[in-house]
């Protein structure tokens, strides 16, 4: 049985530590930030490799262009900003200097959705993955926990592409054990049940597992799938569970327009039409407050997911 508990380390610490570890063996790895190195944890990378870190100042578009240029000289840059600025503010640079030019680089967008909390609506990315999803060849990954982050690192380094890592900076909920296997583009099925399938990622994985517990006590058995890679999405898994359960609920800390729900709908339409209910942000802007207030405000708690599942099954 899958468990979930708060992780002792922040995800940003795991990221910095892993980058430093890989950079020790691989001189291609460099890092850039846009005046948020004290927030992202990239400050630790700067300490370890002062010559391989560049603080670009508050200039995200320039940073992404620089990353693309560095990539063309054989380096693998990691460039961070808040998810809002690492996506919508630099979309054209990621598109043209990055993906179109065949760059191998990793854009790290932190504070996904409601986890932007006190920074408020202007800083709350409900659209980052959606904005980037139509860029050909880009790989969009929402990281669930530290074990997953470490688990996808080898592939990120060995398989050239533009990656966007959607990553909670602070404490997250651990779902995976050390050494579990991850493959980019392959979902992890965390729990099986015939009544419905919940497809989720990021902070919604723990919420969906909790929802599954709630539903189980009512005799409803659901499958929970961690779709960490939104692009390329795991179409086979989507089709398989569309057939087996006949009803899919997507759960995302993101606008359902253009997001995970949309991506799942595309796969379902293509391979195995069934009903899909998109649980997530219903085309709204974010607002300010604690993460817990915002999870309630935007219905991202386990109880909300459970309620959506109950309704979906009855339809």
């Amino acid at each position: 049985m899958r468990t979930y508990q708060d992780e002792p380390v922040m995800l940003r610490e795991t990221l910095a530590k892993t980058m430093i570890e890989y950079a020790g063996k691989d001189t291609r790895i460099v890092a850039l930030d846009a005046d948020l190195a004290s927030s992202s944890g990239f400050g630790a990378f700067q300490k370890a490799f002062p010559d391989r870190f560049f603080n670009c100042g508050v200039a995200e578009a320039n940073m992404v262009g620089i990353a693309a240029g560095l990539s063309s000289t054989g380096r693998i840059p990691f460039a961070h900003s808040f998810g809002t600025f690492a996506s919508r503010r630099v979309c054209d640079q990621i598109f043209l200097s990055g993906a179109y030019s065949g760059a191998h680089m990793v854009i790290v967008g932190s504070d996904p959705g409601v986890t932007a909390a006190y920074n408020g609506g202007t800083h709350m990315p409900f659209e980052d993955m959606g904005v980037l999803r139509s860029i050909p060849g880009i790989k969009l990954i929402e990281v669930t926990d530290s074990a997953m982050l470490r688990g996808v690192f080898d592939e990120i380094i060995s398989s050239p592409a533009v990656y966007y890592l959607r990553l909670k900076r602070k404490v997250t909920t651990a779902v995976y054990g050390e050494g579990e296997k991850f493959k980019i583009g392959r979902a992890n099925v965390l729990r099986e049940g015939k009544d419905a399938a919940v497809i989720c990622s990021g902070i919604m994985v723990a919420e969906s597992l909790k929802a599954a517990d709630i539903l189980e006590s009512e005799g409803i058995k659901v499958t929970v799938i961690d779709m960490h890679t939104w692009k390329p999405i795991d179409e086979d898994i989507v089709a398989k569970y569309a057939k087996e359960t006949g009803v899919i609920i997507t759960a995302e800390n993101h606008n359902v327009v253009g997001g995970l729900g949309a991506a799942v709908c595309e796969a379902v339409c293509k391979l195995s039409p069934c009903r899909v209910i998109r649980h997530g942000i219903q085309d709204e802007f974010g607002e300010v407050g604690t993460e817990s207030y915002l999870k309630t405000r935007f219905k991202l708690n386990a109880a909300d997911v459970a309620e959506t599942v109950r309704k979906a099954i009855k339809l």
Partner: protein, 284 residues
């Protein structure tokens, strides 16, 4: 030029804004105190007399407008707007709380009196230019004021706007740069040295002035002079200290976003109250 008593009134207004702003932060326990303090006297000068506004008519079309491009300094603007009566002063207690009209970054649809939504640095210069153009097209004679941070100058969009405004001869646009010498990750010199900010703007065709950004009367006079000249656009470089007037924050090396004990902040509120009393008379 305003008389001495007018200067004193402005100083009292600034201290009163500080009092209310620090109370907002005390209630919350954290925030962008550094940048909120460094721009404070500029807001006091603008809303304390320079701007043609009417708190009873926040949507008055012919009003002067202010774009707080460094949107994280919202709390100072909120205190000012509340003091002027745009909304009840008690509302300041709701800063950043769930459901509030006072989010950490300025939001024109949530907060009465806020003229433009900001928070993504660099965007305010363009919206300010658009507003100033609109005012000119309306023939209203209204002015647009803009505040940007010195770190914010890193953004390329700032220089796109900087190029456009003088070309359009926008005499009704007055910009301020809060030159507190610090950005989020550290001193501007160490992160991305801005070099000679005045020379850069001048090269783009702006008229440049420099003032002590904590001397509210000097700011008032500089703007008044700029307006009387009939020329523009002007950029006024504010020599400031990040965290000024909130001593324990001003003394911190890294003071962009700070967390603190309520007691510590209440002590600063107390000090501000004393300064205000020393200035005499009624609070603004």
């Amino acid at each position: 030029m305003p008389e001495k008593t007018e200067h004193l009134r402005l100083r009292r207004f600034a201290e009163t804004i500080r009092l209310e702003t620090l109370k907002e932060f005390a209630e919350l326990g954290f925030g962008h105190v550094g940048g909120a303090m460094s721009i404070l006297e500029t807001i006091a000068a603008l809303y304390g007399g320079l701007m043609k506004i009417d708190p009873k008519r926040p949507d008055w079309k012919e009003r002067d407008r202010f774009v707080m491009s460094k949107g994280h300094a919202g709390p100072t603007l909120y205190a000012t707007l509340a003091l002027l009566g745009y909304f009840p002063i008690e509302e300041l207690k709701t800063l950043n709380k769930g459901g509030t009209n006072l989010p950490s970054h300025c939001d024109m649809h949530k907060t009465k009196g806020v003229d433009m939504t900001t928070g993504s640095l660099g965007q305010g210069i363009s919206t300010a230019i658009g507003i100033a153009l609109g005012q000119r097209m309306d023939g209203s004679g209204a002015y647009t004021y803009l505040a940007v941070g010195d770190g914010e100058l890193n953004e390329g969009q700032i220089w796109e706007g900087a190029q456009f405004a003088p070309f359009q001869k926008l005499t009704n646009l007055i910009a301020f740069v809060d030159v507190n010498g610090k950005q989020l990750d550290g001193p501007t010199e160490e992160i991305l040295d801005p070099l000679d900010i005045g020379a850069k703007f001048a090269a783009f065709g702006w008229l440049v002035k420099e003032v002590d950004g904590h001397d509210v009367a000097a700011i008032y006079d500089a703007v008044t002079e700029a307006k009387q000249s009939g020329k523009g656009p002007y950029v006024i470089l504010l020599k400031t200290v990040k965290g000024n007037g909130c001593d324990f924050v001003a003394e911190m090396a890294s003071n962009h976003h700070v967390q603190f004990d309520k007691e510590k902040m209440l002590a600063e509120v107390e000090k501000t109250q004393k300064r205000l009393e020393a200035l005499g008379g009624e609070s603004a």
